[in-house]
Structures are given as C-alpha cells and as structure tokens.
C-alpha cells in the first residue's frame, strides 16, 4: 500500500501499478466502484481534487479481480506560517513554547523547534501532553542575550517557519492566583474579605515574590474597582455596596519583571447584612387593623443610618425597624 499527498485543486493521475495503459481494470474509492468516466485507459484521473477525495484507492485487474495497486490519497494544503508563543510561568526554572497552525492542512505535519541563546543551542524537551509544546530549562539567569526560537513545520506539500526573539524577562507571566475565596465580614455590611494563593506552578515565591492586582464590582455595575497589592495574599474590600452581590478576580505578576497573569476564576460574594428582626407584636397589630387602614401608607422613613446601609448614590436609606414602628403609630392614631 502506498500513501500520496496532493494539494487541494490539483489534478491527480493514478496508475494501476505495472498494468498497461490499455488493461481492463476497476478502481474503487473506499471500497466503492469508481465510474469509468474517471478513467483514461487504466489510469484513474481525478480533476481539481478537494478534501472529499481523500481516501483509500484500489485498482483491480478486470477479470481476475486481483488487487494490483492500492494507495491512500490525502488531499491537503502546505502549511501556513505557524503561530508560536513562548512563556515562563515557572520562573526561574525555565520556559515553554507552544504552537499551532492558523488553518488545518488536513495531512500530517511535522514540527521542529530550535532554541538558540547566544552561541548555545538549547534542547527543548517535547511535552507528552499537549503535544504541540516543549519546555526549556534555564541554564543562565539575568542574561542580556536574547533567546531566538525558530519553529519549522513541514508536510508533504511544503514547509513554513516562524522565529521569535525575546529577553529572558519579557516572557515571564505567572499563572493566575488559585483558590480565590471571598467572604462577608460579620457585622460589616460594606466589607468583603478576599484571600487567594500563589499559583502552584510558581516554584519559589519566597525568593521571587509575586504582586497582585485585585478587581471587583457589583454585578449590577460594569465598572471595576482595582487595587494593587505588593505583598500578602489577602485583602479586605471596605467600600462594597451593602447587600449587593460582587464579582471578584485576582491577577499576579512577578515583583520585578514580566507581565501580569490572566485574571483568576471569578468568585462571587455578598457583604454581610443584618437579619430582619422577628417583630411578632407589631405584625399582629398591623394585621388586625389592616381593613380600616388600607388607605394609610406609612411614609418612607429616613434615619441617620450607618453609612454602610446606603444603597447607591443619592438613594434614600430605608430602615425597616423605624418604618414598622411608624406604621404602628399610624394605626394607633386612626
């Protein structure tokens, strides 16, 4: 059995092995007979092939049905320039490079990567998974010499390559912080306590400390608040809107070099709110006199509430306790 690869749009001629041109043959594609209109003598002619022409082609001698030739046809394209990315999420241990093709070729591709640092060629160990990735261990730290990474992709129809050149520091980007937790603070209607952990891939946070960026907003608003934290893995938000659910995320960066990580998984939390008190007496009074007081609407009340109970700017604070008391007074004076 043979294998052949052809470009999309090409005209393909298949010979039936050593059979003469005028021999009587039958061609099949994936086990299905091919119409004689595609034959020129014993040659199979496929014009302007596309992806649907890929498959197993077999040629049988006319009368004996002996298999005379078999080939797998793969229709595809030569590779376009690959997309290459290199990053160090475990500084100072090393970095990894990963790649992909912007469009599929539909036929097998082979990738070769070379990493050069100054005069030295370094080994990029291929990862088992994902298979389009390899990693390099730093042999030197704090070097001003750039790294040059060249990725070449080859298939039966052509080759292409791309090169990245970068400084040791430029590609440092930690993974996002892990285990982000946000909790309300008891008896504090405007606070949320947020904590997180260094990404587990960052090997030595003591010697290579991370700094963090926290962002938060109530679900009902689009604008984020931001806080940058140079140390520690926790922070207390003190200006949350009472009773509103918040969305919170954290990002990390090496203290000195590189770029910010992606944002962590978002967590949700709502600040502590006071539980409504069980007011049996007032409720019963309101209930028994409701028929005669149906037209009476207690006015909205304001009181000098705790700042934390204000909901939104310019809003009037409604305090349940005062409202119920005034409702009860209203009932008594009718």
């Amino acid at each position: 059995s043979h294998i052949q690869y052809e470009r999309v749009g090409a005209d393909v001629t298949m010979k039936c092995g050593s059979m003469d041109w005028d021999a009587a043959v039958t061609w099949t594609a994936n086990g299905t007979d091919i119409d004689e209109s595609h034959l020129n003598g014993s040659y199979l002619i496929l014009k302007n092939v596309d992806l649907t022409h890929s498959g197993q082609y077999s040629c049988y001698e006319g009368s004996s049905w002996h298999l005379k030739y078999q080939t797998y046809l793969g229709v595809g394209t030569p590779p376009k320039e690959p997309v290459l990315m290199c990053r160090s999420n475990n500084y100072p241990k090393g970095f990894y490079c990963s790649w992909h093709l912007p469009t599929p070729t539909y036929i097998p591709n082979f990738f070769n990567i070379s990493v050069i640092h100054g005069m030295r060629e370094m080994v990029c160990e291929k990862d088992i998974f994902p298979k389009n990735r390899c990693h390099i261990k730093y042999l030197q730290l704090f070097s001003t010499v750039k790294y040059k990474v060249t990725l070449t992709v080859t298939n039966a129809l052509g080759k292409n390559s791309t090169t990245l050149t970068f400084d040791e520091f430029a590609i440092v980007k930690p993974d996002p912080p892990e285990s982000v937790v946000a909790k309300p603070v008891p008896n504090n209607p405007r606070r949320l306590e947020v904590s997180w952990q260094n990404p587990s891939s960052w090997p030595d946070p003591e010697s290579f400390p991370l700094k963090f960026f926290l962002r938060y907003r109530p679900l009902i608003l689009d604008q984020w608040q931001h806080v940058e934290l140079s140390d520690g893995t926790s922070h207390t938000i003190t200006d949350a809107y009472a009773g509103k659910e918040y969305i919170i995320q954290v990002a990390a960066k090496d203290n000195d070099i590189g770029t910010w990580s992606d944002w962590s998984v978002a967590v949700h939390a709502t600040p502590w709110t006071e539980e409504p008190k069980h007011l049996t007496t007032e409720a019963q009074v309101t209930e028994t006199t409701s028929a005669s007081t149906s037209s009476f609407m207690p006015p909205p009340t304001t009181k000098i509430c705790d700042k934390g109970a204000v909901v939104g700017s310019g809003a009037v604070a409604v305090c349940w306790t005062a409202g119920l008391v005034l409702a009860a007074y209203g009932v008594l004076f009718i």
Binding site: P92, L141, F142, S143
Partner: protein
C-alpha cells in the same frame, strides 16, 4: 564570628537586605528610564545588539540557586564597584561631549551613579557584618576608559546600562536569598519573635 550570629547582627542584616532590595528596585526603575533617555539622546536603536563589552560585569550566571551567600555578596560588590567606575567615565565623557547641552541626561547619569555607590556601600556593610569585610579597593587604579570613537562609546554606554539593569534585578533576588534561612544565606538569621 560570634557577633555575626548575634540577634542584633541578624536584625541589622535583615534591615540592610530589606533596604538593599528597595534600593535595587528603585535603581532598576531609574536605569530603565535612563536607558530610554540615553537611546533617544544618543540616536541609537533601542533593539540594537551590543556584544559583550570589555570591563562591564556580566549579570548572567549559571547555577545561580547554588551560590553561597558570600559568593553573592562578593560578586555583587565587584560588579557595583565596576559600575561606579564605568558610570563615572560615562558622566565625564558626557560632559566633555555635550557640556551643559543635555543637562537632563547628565543628571540622570549622576543620580544612577549615586544609587550604585549607595548600593555598593550596602554590600560592604553586609560583608562587614560577616566579619569578613569587603575586599580592599586600594592597589591598582581603575582601568582608564578605552580609546573609542564616538559611536563605539555610545554603544559601550548602552551595554553598561543594559547590564546594570540586569544586575539590579539579580541583586534584589540575591538579597532575598540572603534573608532566607537556607544554604543560600550567609548564615541562618535568628528569627525575631513575633509581637
């Protein structure tokens, strides 16, 4: 030798390391700003490759994590003493070349030179704490600036500043290693009791 392990010595060491780390951070930030200014004022290409410049201490190191505390201090001190000389030469050349025409660049160079000197002092103090004392600077005078053409001098200056920026990062890392109670530190500091 007993003094090196005393609580006061440990606290002094930690204090010097903390201040040194902050100074290294500030120094790096200023060197990066100076690099931008230097490249612009000298008409250079920021991405130009500069071959290793003779006499400029190279920050690149292999097996950095295996270095002892003393090695770190000595290598840092040798580097910053060299940078002190190199920056002084750059400043002098700048004044000869441009006089007062580019005072901002001159001031930036002078500021970085001051920080380099301050950092070298920190390192000397750390070495004194170890009762080893810093190596003497007396003896042979610093090597004179090589006779280079104007463009070569500009490239050399670029190499000096780039390498200094790397050293500033390395130094902060080195000092953090010194504060760890591990083989990387000069000696295991005695932990202060928490309040």
């Amino acid at each position: 030798m007993a003094a090196a392990d005393s609580p006061s010595a440990a606290l002094r060491r930690r204090d010097l390391c903390s201040r040194g780390i902050r100074l290294a951070g500030k120094m790096r930030s200023d060197v990066i700003d100076l690099l931008d200014t230097y490249v612009e004022r000298q008409g250079l290409d920021a991405s130009a490759s500069v071959a290793a410049v003779e006499g400029v201490p190279v920050a690149a190191v292999e097996r950095w994590d295996e270095q002892t505390g003393t090695q770190r201090l000595l290598e840092n001190l040798a580097a910053y003493r060299a940078f002190r000389v190199l920056l002084s030469q750059m400043l002098e050349e700048h004044r000869e070349q441009l006089g007062e025409a580019d005072a901002a660049l001159g001031r930036a160079l002078a500021s970085v030179l001051l920080q380099v000197s301050a950092f070298a002092y920190h390192l000397e103090e750390l070495l004194r704490l170890e009762s080893r004392g810093p190596p003497s600077e007396e003896g042979a005078p610093p090597p004179p600036a090589p006779h280079l053409g104007l463009f070569e001098r500009k490239l050399r200056g670029l190499g000096v500043l780039r390498e200094l920026a790397q050293w500033a990062v390395r130094s902060a890392r080195d000092l953090r290693q010194l504060t760890k109670p591990s083989p990387g530190s000069v000696s295991a500091p005695i932990r202060a009791e928490s309040p």
